[in-house]
Symmetry: C2
DNA sequence: GTCATAAGGATTTTCGAAAATCATTGACTC
DNA sequence: GAGTCAATGATTTTCGAAAATCCTTATGAC
């Protein structure tokens, strides 16, 4: 029997995407135990590909493994939020700086286009339908990826991609904030403007500050 | 008290260590195809734990996966050497800087002790017995780990650990160089001295230069 | 009551084989 | 001869169950 698997070429790949999405969206919450029986039912497959998915997720910091005691969703903490933010400021800051220095007209086009897409739909919030919220999340990630896409370093890009995803789990907590004190759209526009004006140092600084603000806004979730 | 034995509490962990060691030592060369049948024979286990090991190794950049076409040892290239070196200079440089700023007396002790161990045996070379060579490699890694161990950022440390291991594959090519033009031991001593003198900026610069020299010495292997 | 220990159930980890996919070969057409 | 296509063999990927391990509960001694 031929199975249709849009997007993935192996069941393990599908399981990886699916479980990561569940964690991303909060359907699997921080610290939650992930039992193979449940995941097999969710993904409609045997234990082997599920296991491979969890191995990958663990290597990337989304889940944790206790030998012979199973997998859990990685917990969120203020300390890790600050830690990841600092690492992002270092790595993405440098990647953005290099992008501005090295980027060609095609890169400028990608920045412009991805920013345009980002402004066409309202930012993710509680009162926005879930489908459109996911749409914004995707375009947001694409915009930030575009900014650093001309840095010329696959290694740095891979590090940044992972850090972005891990930080994304934290950022999604803020959809319940109304962000009144912050003009996120304006910050994104500033980032684009600085990129296109080719001022590498100021661009990198602005990106670092952008991430710093995001992290600061999230600290209130960890008061207890 | 239960202890985690290095070497692994699961077969998958054992396979991971074993295969990584084979790649590290060159027994599995760059680009070489890794067949499950061979690895199962090598590790004396079934396909499942071997597969898990390869999944982890691939996530860390030591192997590559072509869906349905199997795993191979990641190739080495001059471009990647330069790329990894730049990423190390950024990440380890910052981690070292933070360590010098934040490190306490215990950290100083770790730096001092690990450097002492490093100087007690001759540096890895072709004319040195393999066992002692491995010993030096281990102490060398421990020294560099100690330098950055007080940076306070688990995320950054994890990134550095992975970059170090990947760069290590390149550095091991140089055991056939006699390093006449370079005083590696002296550079290590300088790093220690700068760490203990608590001059963060100069220490970070020295570490970056140290990695730059290492990479430069390896470029000759990629002339073709 | 507390501690230690053992039995039972739940869960992870591993196995051996089946299914799916890829690569090669060779026949056949044009 | 070049190209298409089916058959074959090699290899990866997945399955379903067995084995190993952990956790909970029950039992008994002090």
């Amino acid at each position: 029997m031929e199975q249709k698997r849009p997007g993935g070429r192996t069941l393990a790949g599908d399981a990886y995407e699916r479980i990561r999405q569940q964690i991303r969206s909060g359907a699997f919450g921080p610290g939650e135990r992930l039992r193979f029986a449940d995941l097999q039912a969710l993904c409609s497959m045997s234990v082997t590909p599920v296991r491979e998915a969890l191995t990958r997720l663990t290597a990337e910091g989304f889940t944790t493994l206790d030998d012979h005691r199973g997998y859990s969703v990685a917990r969120l903490s203020l300390a890790e939020l600050r830690d990841i933010t600092a690492a992002r400021q270092l790595c993405e800051g440098e990647a953005f700086r290099l992008s501005v220095l090295n980027g060609d007209a095609e890169w400028e086009g990608r920045v412009l286009a991805s920013h345009h897409l980002l402004t066409r739909i309202p930012q993710a919030r509680d009162d926005i339908p879930s489908a459109m919220r996911e749409d914004w999340e995707e375009r947001h990630a694409a915009f930030h990826a575009a900014l650093i896409s001309a840095c010329g370093s696959p290694t740095l890009l891979e590090i940044c991609r992972n850090l972005f995803r891990r930080a994304d789990r934290y950022r999604r907590m803020s959809v319940s904030l109304d962000g009144a004190a912050r003009d996120v759209a304006g910050e994104h526009r500033t980032l684009m403007d600085l990129a296109l004006s080719r001022d590498a140092e100021r661009a990198a600084s602005a990106l670092k500050e952008h991430y710093g603000r995001t992290a600061a806004a999230l600290e209130i979730f960890f008061e207890s």
